[in-house]
Assembly symmetry: C2
Homo-oligomer: 354 residues x 2
């Protein structure tokens, strides 16, 4: 099981220009694949040249959505080392998602070793311009060739990597978000806390509505009462109200973000009050009306922090912090990206150096 074979490409690709990167458009020269076969388990881990996957049209991933994924980033330091940010948390969460989707668990240590070897093989692909990174996408798909509805007997665990610029075209500028009224992303008892394709497919319609109204993200309320704040776009959300930073507690329908967890720890280390609890949209509206809604921001691997400059709920539009990034948002962004790129001392022990 702990073997990983490596077959290097004989035909390396040309690397894209840094300013043409964007997000998720280009892929490195190699990928990692691990197969699962019922009765055998996970086997044949291998680093191979980046290449298409050939699947039977009856492969279950095309029909019943049994898939999970992760997202994390590697950065180059000024010393030309490569830093991974809390990758063990990604593989722990992948297994949590696996459990919800009835996918067999992976060996987390093995996956981390595979990731390190893959990054090393393609280390020249990690971009080093400010704001850029190597985005890493581990994912698992059901590959059994069968149309019955049941957990598949075969899977592929794959890691691909994409040199990426900033996620948001607007950069660190605050975005406008729309509170979604009609559609729901997730509900307690559903798959909201798992990182599975269906959650993202489900959210596209809300995003389409936001786009049409000129908003860049959707703010999702809970599926039961349509009242409590859950996520923004595909990020966790934080509100700074009267000096205290509040983020919705993990209730089963919210993704346990690794950036979210890191932000909470940074806030605590700076003695800034932070609460994980239910927060209703009414509380947010009231805080705005009485002048105590100081900052709003989303957190996620791709964006790190995305400040919210405007929020629309029903027919009312709120401008937050004059449409500018707030002090705490800026501090969190600087601290986290500083740790991730090796410019700020990692007192939390979050980074792995390659």
């Amino acid at each position: 099981m702990l073997d990983i074979t490596t077959q290097l490409t004989t035909n390396p690709k040309e690397k894209p220009a840094v300013d043409a990167l964007g997000f998720g458009n280009y892929f490195t020269d190699h990928m990692f694949i691990l197969d699962y076969t019922e009765g055998i388990g996970w086997h044949d881990g291998r680093i191979i040249p980046y290449q298409p996957i050939s699947l039977d049209p009856s492969a279950m991933i095309f029909h019943y959505g049994q898939s999970v994924f992760e997202g994390l980033k590697a950065y180059v330091t000024v010393d030309n080392d490569i830093l991974l940010f809390r990758p063990e948390r990604n593989f722990a969460r992948l297994n949590h998602s696996n459990d919800r989707l009835c996918i067999p668990k992976i060996d987390e240590e093995y996956a981390l070793e595979a990731l390190k070897q893959l990054v090393n093989v393609d280390r020249e692909w990690v971009p080093n311009a400010p704001g850029t990174s190597l985005y890493i996408r581990p994912f698992i798909i059901a590959t059994e060739e069968h149309l019955g509805v049941h957990p598949a007997k075969n899977y592929k665990f794959i890691i691909i990597m994409s040199p990426s610029g900033s996620y948001y075209k607007e950069g660190i500028n605050p975005v406008k978000i729309l509170v979604e009224q009609q559609f729901v992303r997730a509900v307690k008892g559903g798959t909201g806390e798992a990182k599975t394709g269906g959650n993202y497919a489900s959210a596209l319609k809300g995003q389409e509505i936001a786009d049409r109204e000129g908003y860049s993200q959707t703010l999702w309320l809970d599926g039961k009462e349509n009242r409590y704040v859950e996520e923004v776009g595909s990020m966790n959300i934080f509100f700074k109200i009267n000096g205290t930073v509040i983020t919705p507690e993990l209730n089963g329908s919210i993704l346990p973000g690794i950036t979210r967890d890191s932000m909470i720890q940074v806030l605590k280390s700076k003695n800034i009050p932070v609460e994980e609890r239910r927060i209703s949209i009414d509380e947010v509206v009231e805080a705005h009306h009485n002048g105590t809604l100081e900052e709003v921001f989303g957190t996620g691997t791709a964006a790190v922090i995305s400040p919210v400059g405007e929020l629309k709920y029903l027919e009312e539009k709120f401008t937050i912090n004059k449409g500018e990034i707030g002090e705490v948002s800026q501090m969190l962004y600087d601290t986290l990206t500083g740790i991730q790129t090796g410019k700020v001392e990692d007192t939390f022990g979050w980074t792995i150096r390659l």
Copy 2:
């Protein structure tokens, strides 16, 4: 657009023995593919030999679950004609699912024409033993090679076909179902009324629990109040209480089953009272306690009808109709399968003869 090219296989497969068929295990010699490219639309419809699909590992279907599908059956009549059952309804529903998942709509007439041509090409694959049929699976997957979360710019619409025996190993024998308490299949505002992979992936966990307790299907309650009956397994559900047949009304989180709709029409034609309305699990329990719960059955394309012989809710187990198939269930099964196979006159105009 209305062109369909046909490339016949030079290497036809051996047809499996009828008693080895099962469900969704074998596939015919040919498949239909139609591509979508942003700016061009759907194009290049073609019937080709059944073959693997090659996709980049960044293809969005592997990450964000943007997929929809349909299921329908073709039957051989005693005259060796082939009957399709309400196929236009499947393509209408596919477009409804497309809308929810932000997938561009297909031309329903064209899709039906493609389906007819494909079935004709593989007509020798339609099995003719009692209970067997050719299961047809149209599906659409997002193929754009990009890791950003947005509706894809490229798709494939594919039809594959599988000669199939009976869906349930138990045949027409009543099944035992377990009312799910912890997990939820869908919620209003989610994707429950669309036929998309994520709904099926989400439901696997409930099925796993049912399996473990010796039940063959999960009965799903609504996601908001955990009280109103929605579906059973991947079927719609009907209750006969005191002479009236009741099925949950289409509320946005229930799949609008074509078999469900057909059953309602058959019941009306036989002057059996039928109601589409909200029905709580408490009403079902009370009906059982006062002796008026006469029949329970699921409906779907694969099973047509699946009578429920036992239902477990919380710690209580109910035996329904002595664990036997009920009169109305049997009548509906005989009528629908009769129409589908050409043995009962199709007064509804549901079948298309090839």
